[in-house]
């Protein structure tokens, strides 16, 4: 949810930035894959991959808890650590997106 919102926000920002920047700035020939646009696309791809991966992790954890409810505590802890490690990859891209400006 958070990453979806972040991505959606960055796209909105991109639309606003392009809309504002277009008339004012001098028409410097610039590749589309340069600057902010790259960051937004990269973040979208990273968020998509992260969503799939986290979904798989949560499915496995839920199945584990359903089969053996007594292990719920351990499974939850392990799952959260795993989710954090997966999420870290998107966070790297987010930091890179912050850096490209």
């Amino acid at each position: 949810m958070k990453k979806f919102l972040t991505t959606a926000f960055l796209f909105t920002l991109a639309a606003v930035a392009f809309a504002q920047g277009a008339p004012a700035a001098a028409p410097v020939a610039k590749s589309l894959f340069e600057g902010q646009f790259t960051a937004h696309i990269a973040l979208a791809i990273a968020a998509a991959g992260c969503g799939l991966a986290q979904g798989k992790a949560v499915v496995a954890a839920c199945e584990g808890v359903a089969r053996n409810p007594q292990a719920a505590g351990n499974i939850r802890t392990t799952m959260i650590i795993g989710l954090a490690l997966i999420e870290a990859l998107v966070i790297y891209v987010l930091v890179a997106a912050f850096a490209i400006k």
Binding site: K2, T77, E87, A88, Y92, V95, F98
Partner: protein
């Protein structure tokens, strides 16, 4: 990244009549006062003071019949104790003060983003990098203390001697990159959440940011848990003896 000083820093700047000037290489030369430039330190200090005040209050009023605040803090201590006990086999309790203090510091800093006018100090990489460096120094120190200097570093060379030239640099690289991942994870999560809440606030200040702030409360807790848990795991990896 643009710099948005917290309202508290701006307010204090006005009250104290601090001079604003440009900072070379920072925020595109925007004029900022010293408090606005270093507002993460202001917020971190404030969070630490609040945490210390609350814990001192609890410490002073310890009783056999715990009040609500004492129950909350007993829960926190038991939670950290459980986490250490699950991961570190022998004498884990000696690490409780450090890990618990760090968890409280990170937690209070994360939650300070939810108070209007303040920004979370953990949404600045300098603060999380500092925390990660302290954890890094702590577990390396205790690893060397528990296992001995030579044995601790020999541990990175791997079991096969002729693979040592390959393994040792890789393991050291992995050890150093832990600092980066440990700090960037906390920073990215809190900063991203804060930015999104800020955008929602910009769209409509009334009620719209509330769902995001609820998520922020949740993520602040989860990120504290993850940061503390990873610190405990790194520590357990450093101090555990191989039998």
């Amino acid at each position: 990244m643009e710099h948005h000083p917290s309202l508290l820093a701006q307010w204090l700047t006005q009250i104290l009549h601090l001079a604003r000037h440009a900072w070379p290489g920072f925020a595109h030369g925007e004029p900022l006062s010293v408090l606005e430039r270093y507002d993460h330190l202001l917020n971190a200090l404030l969070a630490a003071l609040v945490a210390m005040a609350i814990t001192t209050l609890v410490r002073k009023n310890l009783s056999r019949i715990p009040g609500p605040l004492q129950q909350v803090f007993e829960g926190v201590v038991e939670w950290v104790q459980g986490m250490i006990g699950d991961n570190i086999a022998h004498h884990g309790e000696r690490y409780l003060p450090f890990i618990g203090t760090m968890a409280l510091f990170v937690f209070f800093n994360n939650l300070f983003g939810l108070i209007p006018g303040l920004s979370p100090a953990t949404s600045n990489w300098n603060v999380t990098l500092g925390a990660a460096l302290v954890v890094f120094a702590y577990y390396n120190f205790h690893g060397m203390k528990e296992q001995g200097f030579g044995k601790y570093w020999a541990h990175f060379a791997g079991p096969i001697w002729w693979l040592m030239p390959l393994m040792f640099p890789l393991e050291i690289l992995g050890l150093l990159s832990r600092i980066l991942s440990h700090s960037l994870r906390l920073f990215g999560n809190i900063a991203g959440e804060h930015v999104v809440a800020g955008i929602f606030f910009g769209l409509m200040p009334l009620l719209l940011p509330v769902p995001m702030m609820v998520l922020g409360l949740f993520f602040g807790l989860i990120q504290t848990f993850v940061f503390t848990m990873l610190a405990v795991i790194y520590l357990s990896g450093a101090v555990s003896h191989e039998h």
